[in-house]
Symmetry: C2
Subunit: 183 residues, 2 copies
DNA sequence: TTCTATACAGAACACATCGTTCACAAACAG
DNA sequence: CTGTTTGTGAACGATGTGTTCTGTATAGAA
């Protein structure tokens, strides 16, 4: 990819995430984005069809990034964590949010938008499904499987949002404990 | 209140809820609303400052309605329900959604918006707080009170949304059962 | 380095939507 | 009937959108 393209694309993303942490998505104008990114109007539309397109691409990028770091750093932590080794995946998620992914946290804490939350929950549901066996013992026989998976995912998502909105005061280990305590 | 005011106000609400079940809030224009409500542009702005204002008022109206019917119909069901009598409040909520409140269900099932969900969750949190004692025995000592209340509320909200998005196939009693099974 | 393709700048454009204004008509209350 | 309130319809400036154009600068290949 052309170096120029990369530069402007990054500039647009930076400007956009900055604005997203300040105001709701639908209150952000293309004019603000290009002013902050210091690019021409036509340039913006050369890269993205609409504002929604930009948001889509940003989501893709953010969650690609999460998956990458999860897979690359998880093995290192496996032997450090002294509990159930499958639980470490979730502990690691909380740690990652606290230490690395300020962009993601900033988006989750501010005016969240529908599309972004959909991406987020999809990602969490994938993760929960992968570790399904971990929760099997906690499941009551009276609820169907799809409801159960949905419930775990929702609880994880709501726990993360509660944590972030309360300033992430609790250390990741404690939050992970909360999460498993209520299941 | 003037009969004319009531008529136009209702016409605006009808047009607005109809449109809300078809498309996202921020894609709805004032032009569409007044065309569907068959009123003049100036009339709309005589009743509501902005589109957001209209949404606000609609939310107020919807949740006032829920509270009214809850309080008026609950006593009749108390002696019919054979389980714990506090659980009947939640059973009743599910029944009410299935039988009476098509407007609310339609809004919850379609493109939901931030403001509307905030109202909804606030209402549920009030309800959960009122019946706090019902959940005390299920609470683990390791989680703090505020997290516990938040978790119950989220679970209730997510259960309702899951139910609606799956076509409300399960009878209210079953769903109430699911809700209490996962706590 | 030189050449060529392509990305960007900057301005102008038509278009849609917003929220306001005003003069006039219709419905209301006493 | 009479004065007041409410709705009508058209027009307005302001703001944002997405496109188009010409000229310039830069990347990457020869």
């Amino acid at each position: 990819m052309d170096r120029r393209q990369r530069k402007t694309r990054d500039a647009i993303f930076r400007a956009f995430t900055g604005l997203l942490s300040q105001k709701e998505f639908h209150r952000i104008t293309v004019g603000e984005i290009i002013e902050r990114a210091d690019i021409g109007r036509a340039t913006f539309y050369a890269h993205f069809e609409t504002k929604d397109d930009l948001l889509n691409d940003l989501c893709e990028e953010l969650f690609c990034h999460i998956v990458d770091t999860e897979q690359s750093t998880e093995p290192q932590h496996h032997h450090i964590f002294e509990g159930d080794c499958s639980e470490s995946a979730f502990l690691h998620l909380f740690e990652h949010l606290q230490n690395n992914d300020h962009n993601l946290v900033s988006l989750l804490s501010s005016y969240n938008n529908e599309l972004f939350m959909r991406y987020f929950k999809n990602h969490l549901e994938q993760m929960v499904s992968q570790h399904r066996s971990l929760f099997a013992s906690r499941k009551s026989d009276t609820v169907p499987d799809d409801f159960w998976i949905h419930h775990i995912t929702s609880t994880l998502s709501d726990t993360i949002l509660w944590w972030i909105h309360n300033g992430m005061k609790e250390p990741p280990k404690i939050i992970t404990g909360y999460f498993f305590s209520v299941l």
